[in-house]
Amino acid sequence: MSAIDFENVSVHYGLEPVLESLSFTVESGSWVSVIGPNGAGKSTMLRALVGLTPFSGSIAIAGRSVERMRRRELARALAYVPQTPEHPAGMSVFDYVMLGRTPHRSYLGSGNSNDLAVVRDILALLDLERLARRPVSSVSGGEAQRAAIARAVAQQAPVLLLDEPTSSLDIARQQEVMNLIDGLRSSEGLTVISTMHDLTLAGQYADRLLLLADGTVRGDGISREVLTTEAIERHYGAYVRVVEDDDGAITVVPLRPGRQAELDEAPSER
C-alpha cells in the first residue's frame, strides 16, 4: 500500500516555479531519501506535504487527499522535523517532547496520563531520560536533534518527515541519528521521507533515492541506480568518484580539481 502519493504537484513562489508536475509514490514502511542540489525543491516538497506551502495538483496520505484533512488530523498522520528546529530558551527537554502530543489534545486540553506515558517511553527509547530536565536550548547539537526526533515520534504519526536531519552534526552524531531513525522505522513501523545532502549516508540507509533537480524528478531507484558520476555531474555540477564495495554499499567521493583529468581519462569504476 502506498503511504504517500504525489500527483502533478507544482509549487510557485511568486512567478518562480519551485516544483513542477512532481509525481511519485512512497510505499508504506519504506525509507525514501530525497537528494538534489541546493534549490532543487527538496524542502519545499516536504513543506507542501505538511501543509506549510500551497500547491497545485494532489497529495494523498494513505489514499486520502491532504486538502480534505483538518490540521490536527494531518499532524496525527505526519510528523515533521524541520532542518533547524526551534529550541525555545528555557524549555525543558521533557516539555519539548511533550509538545509532540499537541495533535492528540483538544483545543484547550492539557496532557493526560496517556500522554505522559507515551513521552516517558519515548525518552527512554531515545536515551533522553537523563536530559529530561535540562533546557533543550542548552544540550549539544546531537542531543538537540535527538530531542527533535523524539518530539516527532511522540506525535505517533505513521509517517516521519525529516529535512536534512544530519546537516549540522559531526560524523559520529550523523551515524547515531541515522541508526536511530532506522531503528524507529523497524520498531514503530514508520514510513520515512528524508531530504539529504550527504549522498553516501543517504544511499546507505534509504531503500530508495529520489533525485530532484530543477523542481522535478531526475532519478528514482536504489542507490546504485541513482548515484552515478554522470547524474551527479549533470545535476550537481560536481566531480566525484562513485565506489561500490563488495556488499553493494555506495560511497561518493568528491575529487579535487587536479584529479578531474584522471577522472576524465578513467571515468570510474562504474
Binding site: 494531518l74 499532524a75 525555545p88 524549555m91 511533550m98 505522559l116 537523563r130 506525535q155
Partner: protein, 348 residues
C-alpha cells in the same frame, strides 16, 4: 546519581499560594497606610463585619470607615485589576509575537486610548476636567479602534508577526500625531490631558470597577486557558502548524482577549507604562519561560507590583501625589536590573 524523575513543568500550588499571600500583604499595607491613620484592628473588624453571618464591632469613625470603603478599597481593587491585566496582557503579547519587547500597547492601544481621552476632554461636555464617565468610554473606543485598525492593516496579504508589529507602530504614530495636534490647539485642557496620559488610580470608585470587571475577568480566563497553546507557539508558526495548531486563530483569540482587557483598564487608569513589560520579564528570570507557569502568576505579580507602586505614589510626597507611571518606571527599572544581575550571576 542521575536524577531520573521526569515530569512536565507545572505551576506548583505553593507558588500560587505564596503569590496570593504577597498580594494580600501588599494590599493590607496599602489599606492601612495613608494621610488618615486607620488602625489595623479597625480595618480587620470592618472587613470581617462585611462577611455573611459574622458581626464585628469596628472602632473606626464614620469618616474613617468612609475613607476605607470609598477611597482606599476601590483604589486597591483598581490597582489589582489594572496591574494584573497589564502584566497578563504583556506576557500574552510576548508569547504570540515571540518578541521580548512586545507590550500591551504594541497594537496602538495606548495611542488610541490617548486620542479618545483627549477628544473627550477637549470636545466633551464640560464637567470640570477629567470626568471618567465621559473620558473612559471614549478612551476605550479609541483603544479598540486602534487595535482593530492595526490588526486589519497588519494582516492584509500575507500576515506575519512582523507585519502586525509594523502596522501597530504606524497606527500608533498616526493617532499620536492627531492627539498631539488636538492637544496643542487646545492648551487650556493641556493639564487635564497630560494628567490622564500619565495614569493614576486615584479617580477610582466602585462604579468604574464594576464597569471593567466583567471584561477583565473574561479576558483573563481566555488568556489563562490558552497558556499551553502559547508554549506550542514558542516553536514558531511553521512548527506549531505542523503540530496541528491553527496558529492564526490562536493568535487572533489571544490578541482580542488581551486587547479588550487592556483597553478596559487603560480607559479607567490612563496610560500606566512599564508594568506590561517589566513584570513578565522579572517573572521569566525567576520562574522560567513556560507559559503554563507565567500566565497564571503574571496577573498576581502585576497586581502586587501596581498596588505597591500606588502606595509609593500617594505617600512619597504626601499630601501631594506622584503619577503612578513615574513610580512604576523609577522604581521598577532598578528592581528589574537587580533581578537581571542576580540571575546572570547565578547562571555563571
Amino acid at each position: 546519581m542521575v536524577e531520573t524523575t521526569v515530569a512536565p513543568t507545572r505551576l506548583p500550588a505553593t507558588w500560587l499560594v505564596l503569590s496570593f499571600v504577597a498580594l494580600a500583604g501588599a494590599a493590607t499595607v496599602s489599606i492601612s497606610v495613608g494621610a488618615a491613620g486607620l488602625s489595623v484592628d479597625g480595618i480587620v473588624a470592618e472587613l470581617v463585619d462585611r462577611l455573611p453571618w459574622i458581626e464585628a464591632e469596628s472602632d473606626l469613625s464614620a469618616t474613617a470607615s468612609g475613607i476605607l470603603w470609598q477611597v482606599r478599597m476601590p483604589r486597591i481593587a483598581l490597582g489589582v485589576l489594572v496591574g494584573g491585566m497589564l502584566a497578563l496582557a504583556g506576557t500574552s503579547y510576548q508569547g504570540i509575537f515571540r518578541n521580548p519587547l512586545a507590550d500591551p500597547y504594541l497594537l496602538g492601544v495606548a495611542a488610541g486610548a490617548g486620542l479618545g481621552a483627549t477628544l473627550a476632554i477637549v470636545f466633551g461636555p464640560d464637567t470640570g476636567g477629567t470626568s471618567l464617565a465621559v473620558v473612559a468610554p471614549a478612551a476605550f473606543v479609541g483603544a479598540l479602534v486602534a487595535a482593530i485598525g492595526s490588526y486589519l492593516l497588519g494582516t492584509v496579504g500575507r500576515a506575519t508577526t512582523t507585519s502586525l508589529i509594523l502596522a501597530g507602530v504606524a497606527v500608533a504614530a498616526f493617532l499620536t500625531s492627531i492627539q498631539t495636534y488636538v492637544q496643542l490647539r487646545n492648551t487650556d485642557s493641556l493639564r487635564d490631558v497630560v494628567s490622564w496620559m500619565l495614569g493614576r488610580l486615584s479617580t477610582a470608585g466602585w462604579g468604574e470597577i464594576r464597569a471593567i470587571l466583567p471584561l477583565v475577568i473574561v479576558s483573563s480566563i481566555v488568556l489563562l486557558l490558552h497558556r499551553r497553546l502559547l508554549d506550542v507557539l514558542a516553536l514558531g508558526d511553521d512548527e506549531a502548524t505542523a503540530l496541528g495548531v491553527q496558529v492564526t486563530t490562536v493568535r487572533l483569540v489571544v490578541l482580542v482577549a488581551a486587547s479588550l482587557g487592556t483597553a478596559a483598564v487603560v480607559a479607567v487608569s490612563g496610560l500606566i507604562g512599564f508594568v506590561g513589560i517589566i513584570v513578565p520579564h522579572a517573572l521569566r528570570l525567576t520562574i522560567g519561560t513556560s507559559y503554563a507557569r507565567l500566565i497564571p502568576l503574571s496577573f498576581v505579580a502585576g497586581a502586587t507590583f501596581l498596588v505597591l507602586a500606588d502606595l509609593l505614589a500617594r505617600t512619597l510626597i504626601s499630601p501631594a501625589e506622584l503619577p503612578i507611571g513615574v513610580v512604576t518606571a523609577f522604581f521598577g527599572a532598578p528592581f528589574f536590573l537587580g533581578i537581571l544581575h542576580l540571575t546572570e550571576r547565578a547562571a555563571t
